[in-house]
């Protein structure tokens, strides 16, 4: 098994562009998901078979989870959040395959996902309420809260990236250490823990992103409701 940092190193160099193993694994995941999506969507029918039933169940479960947090905005954020869940889950599970490593154990990958969540919060917030109204919530409840709000935005993004990276990297390192110290078959319970942790981390990452986005949208709605209450 390769070390946890092996995939962080340059896998291939294309015209001076250093392509890491994590990027290659991400492409593999993307290719696999594309093939799976393309092939499975061609066989969708009015009377679903087992695969279609699983897919529909998965989509509906994710849709219901999103709708429970931000009712009425599900269609807007569903593709982003659902892709986060699927990608992080698949990336986490990839670490179970011997010789491969989870892209999510690479800080660059988790940082990229976290920065995407960071910008998506502002994107959906601005798209929902406009730039001026959205930026106004940083001054709520008083302008004195602006530095704290900005720090909060940055810290939660950083936490999002480091949490996923730390958990997945620690799991892989733990498995490698147990393998080195105790020998073959002993890390199997650790791998079971990897599955649970991978599912939990995927769910947690997507759910936190969803809550941040919902916070950005709903804070505007709450403010508008208060203003309507004052005028009426």
């Amino acid at each position: 098994m390769l070390s946890a940092g092996a995939f962080e190193r340059t896998f291939v160099s294309i015209g001076g562009l250093q392509i890491s193993g994590s990027v290659v694994m991400t492409w593999v995941i993307m290719a696999g998901l594309f093939l799976f999506s393309f092939l499975s969507s061609r066989t969708l029918s009015h009377k679903p078979k087992s695969l279609q039933t699983v897919l529909e169940g998965l989509v509906l479960v994710m849709e219901d989870a999103i709708d429970a947090v931000i009712p009425g905005k599900t269609a807007l954020v569903f593709p982003f959040i659902a892709t986060l869940w699927i990608f992080v889950f698949v990336a986490n599970m990839l670490g179970l395959i011997p010789g491969l490593s989870s892209p999510t154990s690479d800080l660059s990958v988790t940082s990229a996902l976290a920065i995407l969540v960071f910008f998506s919060v502002h994107w959906f917030g601005v798209r929902s309420e406009g730039v001026k109204n959205y930026l106004r919530h940083y001054l709520a409840p008083t302008p004195l809260m602006l530095p704290f709000n900005l720090v909060s935005e940055l810290s939660r993004t950083l936490a999002l990236a480091v949490r996923l990276f730390g958990n997945m990297m620690s799991l892989e390192l733990t498995a490698i250490l147990v393998l080195v110290v105790a020998g073959p078959l002993v890390p199997i319970p650790i791998l079971m823990l990897h599955i649970i942790e991978g599912v939990i981390q995927a769910y947690l990452f997507g759910m936190l992103a969803l809550i941040y986005i919902a916070g950005g949208i709903q804070s505007q709605e709450l403010r508008q409701e208060k203003e309507r209450g004052r005028t009426s």
Partner: protein
């Protein structure tokens, strides 16, 4: 643990591409399939609801029709009962009329039969009375009584302006005989007086033939050929009894 800017940027692009891929090739088709099925189910529910509504309407229609049929049936039954009662009344009336007629006929027949019986009894009584009278009067019959009857008949014949026979019998003109029957033998003077009186009345000379018939009880019977002159107890009683039967 280090942060690679290249990886960072490429991963951002990768993720956005993945969002597009999943949205284009997974989420959209699956959602379309779900929506299509949901629409199909809703359509089926609508169709079933529509069918249920139509069934309810048809049921209501048939219930109303059944109600109408029941009303029509009741009305027809009432009319039939009414017709039946009318016909029954008519037939009962006819029956009672016929019965009354039959009773009247029976009563008439009974009355007729009773009348006939009564008449028969009366006739029988008259006959018995006549027989009794004949027997009773026979004890009073005598030549003297007959003599008085003959005298009375002779006087009547003589005093009568009208002839005994309205059309004088041709037989008398041609010499036919008049027979005179009496209960007792007549004396010669009585015979000649009677003959003269008859000849005078009829205007024809004659010689009656006299005979004796005790059945006459008393009196005589004159046979003129076309008519009989009866002046005796038996015929008087017989006439009496016949008049009683009449």
């Amino acid at each position: 643990m280090h942060l690679s800017l290249t990886t960072f940027i490429i991963e951002i692009v990768n993720f956005l591409v993945l969002v597009w891929i999943l949205r284009r090739f997974l989420f959209a088709p699956v959602k379309r399939a779900i929506e299509a099925r949901r629409a199909s189910v809703e359509r089926m529910i609508e169709d079933s609801e529509k069918a249920r509504t139509e069934a309810a309407a048809i049921r209501t229609q048939y219930e109303n029709r059944l109600k109408d049929w029941n009303q029509e049936k009741d009305r027809s039954r009432a009319e039939f009962q009414k017709d039946l009662e009318t016909e029954k009344t008519r037939q009962m009336k006819t029956f009672y009329e016929q019965l009354e007629q039959e009773r009247a006929k029976a009563r008439a027949r009974d009355e007729q039969a009773a009348g006939e019986i009564r008449a028969a009894i009366e006739r029988q009584a008259m006959r018995q009375a006549m027989d009794f009278s004949c027997r009773f009067l026979s004890s009073f019959a005598s030549p003297e009584l007959e003599s008085r009857i003959i005298d009375l008949v002779t006087k009547r014949i003589e005093s009568s302006g009208a002839p005994l026979a309205q059309f004088p019998p041709e037989g008398l003109r041609n010499g036919a005989k008049i027979s005179v029957r009496s209960a007792f033998p007549l004396r010669p003077d009585q015979s000649s007086t009677l003959a003269k009186a008859l000849a005078k009345n009829l205007g024809v000379p004659m010689e009656p033939v006299f005979s004796v018939d005790p059945a006459l009880v008393a009196g005589l019977e004159i046979d003129l050929g076309v008519a009989d002159l009866k002046a005796n107890i038996r015929d008087e009683l017989k006439l009496f009894s016949e008049s009683g039967e009449g």
